[in-house]
């Protein structure tokens, strides 16, 4: 039984993430209608929204601390929100502003917040190896922090994912891999990309525990993640989790979804994990008024983050040249010590 306070926190994360995506959708489409022009409007670039994925992120991140590392894929907003990434600066980054998390150099697929050890990679499954590295660092330093790599089900055939399972397993690293199964890899349904319906079975090939949460039920994810994160934190190695989520929107904004049967879109919209959690809140004795208040507060926070972000300055074009390196190009020294070397230095060869 999940504590009522945890249920409230999860509900807040989920309604924040859902409303965030809905509001970004509105902002993104500004200037892009009636004809869709990806280079118009206030939000630059592609936008992959995660409405329908919220249960997975919040159920897992409830068990994480700021010093635990999370890597997220190209669809990262709900995970960033659940991990506690600074919402104002994240939003400013998505709008490409100077005060964004990355000063406008990363964008929505490349969000980094070292304060809470959150990072993204826009390349499918390639966030897994760095998560393994964070786990390796924790083990080497004898710390009990853990790392979690989130990926989509389309990533389960990628070498980076499978290699990471192997390295985490053979080195007994504190890593949890979370597959968010939304049934679709852009236009490819899962049964056309793998014969294994339950991708958590991939764990068996690496002698690692694997578990699938078959519905996007936040409390079921919470329970499964509690065990997986606990196992990692206690030094008992990695776990693979797969969580069924649903994709309520297109792969990216502008996706016509012509490949997707209408019944599938309708079914996704009907199985709403947020309403499911609201019922659990009521069952736990939380009044409707309180639930509404949680929702309103979350909406206010999102609206205010978007308002703040839109008010931020555009970056100075000259800033494009900075931040390739953090240190001087020459390294830790600019001068070379002179040594007196004996004789003909070309008399070399082998030992």
């Amino acid at each position: 039984m999940v504590q009522a306070s945890k249920l409230q926190t999860m509900f807040t994360d989920m309604v924040t993430a859902r409303y965030y995506e809905e509001r970004l959708q509105e902002e993104y489409l500004e200037g892009k209608q009636p004809a869709f022009d990806i280079s118009a409007g206030p939000i630059p670039g592609e936008l992959h929204l995660a409405a329908g994925h919220e249960a997975s992120a919040t159920g897992v991140c409830q068990h994480l601390r700021d010093d635990d590392t999370v890597t997220a894929p190209h669809r990262p907003h709900h995970i960033a929100i659940a991990k506690g990434v600074d919402l104002n600066r994240m939003t400013a980054e998505i709008f490409g502003r100077e005060t964004g998390l990355s000063k406008g150099k990363g964008g929505h697929m490349h969000l980094f917040d070292p304060e809470v050890n959150f990072a993204c990679s826009g390349i499918i499954a390639e966030g897994c190896p760095p998560a393994v590295g964070a786990g390796l660092a924790a083990k080497k330093r004898n710390e009990d922090s853990v790392a979690v790599a989130f990926i989509g089900e389309g990533a389960v055939s990628q070498g980076a994912f499978l290699e990471s399972l192997n390295l985490a397993s053979v080195q007994d690293l504190p890593v949890v891999f979370v597959i968010e199964d939304n049934d679709w890899a852009i236009s490819m349904p899962k049964d056309r990309v793998t014969d294994v319906a339950d991708a958590s079975q991939r764990a068996g090939g690496f002698d690692m525990p694997g578990e699938r949460v078959d519905s996007d039920d936040a409390t079921a994810v919470y329970d499964a993640a509690k065990e997986a994160v606990g196992r990692a934190r206690d030094g008992n190695g990695p776990t693979l989790l797969e969580v069924q989520v649903h994709r309520r929107m297109g792969h990216f904004m502008g996706d016509p979804e012509s490949y997707r049967p209408e019944e599938d879109s309708a079914a996704a919209k009907n199985r709403d994990s947020i309403e499911r959690l609201a019922s659990e809140l009521r069952a736990a004795g939380i009044e409707d008024e309180e639930i509404d208040e949680l929702r309103e507060n979350a909406h206010d926070r999102v609206d205010s983050a978007i308002e703040w972000a839109k008010d931020q300055p555009q970056p100075d074009p000259e800033d494009a040249y900075g931040d390739v390196f953090v240190g001087p190009e020459s390294g830790v020294t600019t001068t070379e010590t002179t040594h007196e070397l004996a004789g003909d230095t070309r008399a070399g060869g082998d030992d």
Partner: protein
């Protein structure tokens, strides 16, 4: 570097591999956060002696053999570096970059920039490069230009033991990613005899050589030969032969491709007016064209004649006469210098 005989002169000679390893060991003693991982780097000691002897002192926790899984362990180095450690990851042959390149150029090299420098990646990627021992197209490349082309990583190519040690110290202490490319033929491996040149006196103390500082390995007045790695030694040999014919060639060893010391090249060309660029990478879109372009942009007036010598645009062949044909030899350098007159 000063080269002279004196009572205090350093006369302890090391192979390039021993000099590299000495720097790694010093850094590992000084900083517990430094560790080395790669294929066959622990019990074997590195196929090309890049880690020889380190296991005995530091044990398997810090000299880590890993699965044949470049994406996973190079990416793990990226993750550990972002967590503040100082990993050194070894790619056994640079030719294997294809199986792990996303972690190298999309993660290691870009995460700093994409984060607006809120994240940094203090790691070294060591890798063996080069041919001349008939290992054919998948085990003989240098790929200098490929790595130097992609922004976000420094690219270091030592040609002597002295340089190898100072550059390695600087690489490990750097807060940014460094690709350290060592030429197999220069390491001083028993089964792959090195030419004269890479084995040099090496101070026992630690020292750092800055990146972006080319070294004039031979001074000359008539022609500038710009090169790196193995071909520094071929160029010096060519220059000695040319001197007998009255042609005085200057040999500039780039030492690092990123950052590139354009200034030293320009100074030399201003003096000689003639430029030959020699490289063991492919000819087109590569190091040789970049050097020539920079000189042309900055000081076209000084440039009386130019020639470049690189691997023609074919994969490296296997049979000895075929490989010898495509990798620039000492004779080829002499011909190139003569072809642009003096």
């Amino acid at each position: 570097m000063a080269q002279q005989d004196s009572a205090q002169a350093i006369d302890r000679e090391l192979t390039m591999s021993r000099a590299m390893v000495e720097a790694i060991a010093d850094e590992m003693r000084a900083d517990e956060e430094v560790f080395y991982m790669g294929e066959d780097v622990a019990d074997y000691g590195g196929i090309f002696d890049s880690t020889q002897g380190l296991l005995e002192e530091f044990g398997h926790d810090r000299i880590m053999d890993v699965p044949i899984s470049e994406t996973a362990y190079i990416g793990a180095a990226v993750g550990a570096a972002q967590a503040g450690m100082r990993p050194i990851a070894e790619l056994m042959f640079v030719d294997f970059f294809g199986v792990g390149m996303d972690q190298i150029y999309n993660q290691m090299a870009k995460n700093t920039y994409m984060s607006g420098a809120s994240v940094n990646v203090p790691m070294v990627l060591t890798t063996a490069v080069g041919g001349t021992y008939n290992d054919a197209a998948q085990h003989s490349q240098t790929l200098y230009g490929t790595f130097a082309h992609l922004p976000g990583m420094k690219v270091v190519v030592p040609s002597t033991a002295y340089d190898a040690k100072g550059l390695m110290h600087n690489a490990i202490r750097d807060d940014d990613p460094v690709v350290y490319m060592f030429h197999k033929r220069l390491m001083g491996i028993g089964w792959m005899p090195a030419p004269d040149g890479p084995k040099t006196p090496v101070p026992e103390e630690e020292y750092t050589i800055p990146f972006g500082s080319a070294d004039v390995k031979r001074e000359g007045e008539d022609v500038t030969v710009v090169t790196l790695g193995l071909h520094v030694h071929r160029a010096i040999e060519a220059a000695e032969d040319l001197a007998e014919d009255g042609i005085d060639a200057e040999v500039v060893d780039l030492r690092t491709l990123v950052p590139l010391d354009t200034e030293t090249i320009l100074e030399s060309v201003a003096k000689t007016g003639r430029l030959v660029v020699v490289d063991e990478d492919y000819r087109s879109y590569g190091v040789t064209s970049e050097i020539v372009a920079r000189v042309a942009e900055e000081d076209l007036a000084s440039l009386e004649a130019v020639s470049r010598l690189a691997v023609p645009d074919v994969p490296i062949p296997y049979a000895r006469p075929l490989e010898n044909e495509v990798i620039p030899a000492t004779e080829d350098i002499k011909d190139a210098v003569r072809s642009i007159g003096s």
